[in-house]
């Protein structure tokens, strides 16, 4: 156990935000879960009691007749904003006094930094470079993330859970978002920051960064395993595999939706549903491809003269 190495990584000034992000995320997930849980209980109670549902004010916060429904922004909101501003300023001041922003040697194109890391918030994408070619990891994925986020309001047709925390009414959408945000984004950043060392190799926390370590890894391509050699056949084979994944996967998504999310499925138009299918399958493809690589050393699935997937 190399504590010094561990300390160096955790205390590198630009890594401190991530060290802070983890407890912050835990806290806010807890805060959201607590409210979701309380709301879900209330919902269950009201679902079972039609009379109460008519009279209850439908929040978990107390409300008594005679209380005003609205409060003045001045002072009730502004004092909170003021307090928040002061607290943020204090935190920032203390942080700035105790920890200096990093400054390395002057830029030198002839002296490669090893590991050369992108800023921490892009490390998830850099981690994807291990499993995908740059045109996918660096261009297609960010584009899909942005477009995917933007279409969320238009493909989530579930009218429940608007304006309050809940889990039971939105299991699928919240589950999907948590998977995307926590597993595919934050966890990849954590790996990129704390685990990846020189040569972008995997070093467990506390393992010394060995700059001379070499890993002999023989990667194969999926067509090789099936003994396909000609370029034409490889391209065709890959297209079939990838196309088949989306077709079969699409069918699977359909049959799951039809059975377990019948109401949502009924509300969705064909366009909404196919976009959902596509985005969902693409998201799931990431861990699948990672698995192929980590478990069977498979580098490419689809090889063409122009691009590889």
């Amino acid at each position: 156990m190399d504590w010094r190495q561990l300390w160096e990584i955790c205390s590198a000034p630009d890594n401190v935000p991530i060290v802070g992000l983890i407890p912050l995320l835990c806290f806010y997930i807890y805060l959201a879960w607590k409210q979701a849980h309380a709301n879900d209980q209330l919902i269950a109670q009201l679902e079972g009691d039609a009379a109460l549902a008519k009279t209850h004010h439908r929040k978990t916060w107390p409300f008594k007749p005679g209380w005003q429904k609205e409060v003045h922004v001045w002072p009730f909101l502004l004092r909170i904003e003021f307090l928040a501003a002061i607290i943020v300023t204090i935190i920032l001041m203390v942080w700035s006094i105790t920890l200096n922003a990093p400054l390395e040697e002057p830029a030198n194109p002839n002296l490669t930094m090893n590991p050369a890391k992108a800023p921490w918030y892009f490390l998830g994408l850099q981690e994807m470079l291990v499993y995908f070619d740059p045109w996918i990891a660096g261009v297609v994925m960010p584009t899909m993330i942005i477009v995917g986020l933007m279409v969320i309001p238009y493909i989530d047709t579930n009218p429940l859970g608007s304006g309050y925390y809940t889990w039971k009414q939105r299991k699928f959408s919240i589950g999907t978002f948590l998977f995307g945000f926590i597993i595919l984004w934050v966890a990849m950043i954590i790996i990129g920051t704390f685990i990846r060392g020189p040569g972008w190799q995997w070093f467990w926390p506390g393992q010394t960064w060995d700059h001379n370590r070499l890993i002999y890894e023989v990667n194969r391509d999926l067509p090789d395993i099936f003994g396909i050699t000609s370029n034409m056949a490889k391209a065709l084979f890959g297209a079939i595999v990838v196309g088949g994944y989306y077709l079969l996967g699409g069918f699977l998504v359909y049959s799951l939706f039809r059975r377990y999310m019948a109401k949502d499925f009924k509300r969705m138009s064909l366009l909404q549903f196919s976009i959902t299918q596509f985005l969902l399958l693409t998201m799931v493809a990431l861990p699948l491809k990672m698995g192929l690589r980590l478990l069977w050393h498979i580098k490419y699935v689809w090889i063409t003269p122009w691009f590889n997937v």
Partner: protein
């Protein structure tokens, strides 16, 4: 002299006039002074004061409302809001904190600009100078750096809470989209700033980052179909981003301009739209009354339904 002339030419004496004036002054000025002092006892009655503040400040509901509505900055807010909407546990205050960090960044950023030249010769030295010679230069730079990191975290948490509360649902779909753009621009702001110290850290981070642009399908020289379309290192998107085929002087200048002018302007405009839409979409989405399964398909949502 004046005395001698007096009376001789029948001029009504200058001296008399002066005396008269002095007499009058003895009464006028103390009276005015008294008035002035009386006036100062209640500064809220002065013209300067009333020209600035357009309403009284006694604690009445009307004045509380006017305090918000007659102030250009505060009138982003409505005069009154739902009693539960002020609960910290609902919004986590993250949108507001993100915005506050943006203001801090603008402030410290402008100060940093006084000491920084975006050229290969000076950039790195300017940062050294800031760290060691400029009074408070070090804390200025630190604050700018850490506020930027905090802002990135703040945007993520804000998006997370907006998602978890389903606040992107009707009628807030469009504002969610503005938000996604703000997310992208926040990251780009941070990224373009990374290169500016012109040190190894920034240089290699931006090299890694922009190398991906080489691989852009169609538009990058190493991307799928790129070379077929005539892309080379000297005319593809990466060249356009960097103003060259490597991260060098032009890239530094471009980063600087995007970082200090281009993106902040776009982001500010988007923030204005974002805040405006929060109001127009009926204010903060909740905490709204919970909806039951049976009511799901009865459309009862409009901008107004959100409040209660």
């Amino acid at each position: 002299m004046a005395d001698e002339n007096n009376g001789k030419n029948g001029k009504v004496g200058l001296v008399d006039r002066v005396k008269d004036d002095i007499q009058a002054m003895k009464v006028d000025i103390p009276a005015k002074a008294k008035e002035q002092i009386e006036g100062l006892k209640d500064p809220t009655k002065t013209q300067v004061y009333t020209s600035i503040f357009r309403h009284k400040h006694d604690d009445t509901p009307r004045n509380r409302a006017l305090g918000v509505l007659s102030n250009v900055f505060l009138h982003l807010h409505p005069a009154k809001i739902n009693r539960d909407a002020v609960r910290y546990s609902y919004t986590w205050g993250m949108g507001g904190i993100t915005f506050f960090l943006f203001i801090i960044l603008t402030y410290t950023g402008v100060l940093l600009m006084f000491y920084y030249h975006p050229s290969k010769v000076q950039a790195f030295r300017d940062v050294l100078y800031l760290e060691h010679d400029v009074p408070f230069g070090k804390i200025l730079r630190n604050m700018h750096r850490w506020a930027a990191h905090l802002m990135v975290i703040g945007v993520w948490l804000h998006m997370f809470r907006v998602f978890l509360t389903g606040s992107y649902k009707k009628p807030r779909e469009f504002n969610w989209n503005i938000g996604v753009l703000l997310l992208v621009f926040t990251l780009l702001l941070s990224f373009t700033g990374y290169l500016l110290p012109d040190d190894q850290l920034g240089f290699w981070a931006v090299t890694v980052g922009t190398n991906m642009a080489r691989a852009t399908p169609l538009l990058g020289h190493e991307g799928p179909f790129g070379s077929m379309l005539g892309m080379t290192p000297y005319n593809d998107v990466r060249f356009g981003l960097l103003g060259g085929s490597i991260v060098d002087a032009n890239a530094l200048l471009r980063s600087y301009i995007w970082h200090c002018i281009g993106i902040p302007i776009v982001a500010s405009i988007l923030m204005i739209v974002h805040f405006w839409r929060v109001r127009k979409d009926g204010g903060i989405s909740g905490p709204a009354p919970v909806m039951l399964e049976a009511e799901a398909d009865k459309q009862r949502r409009g901008p107004k339904a959100a409040g209660e």
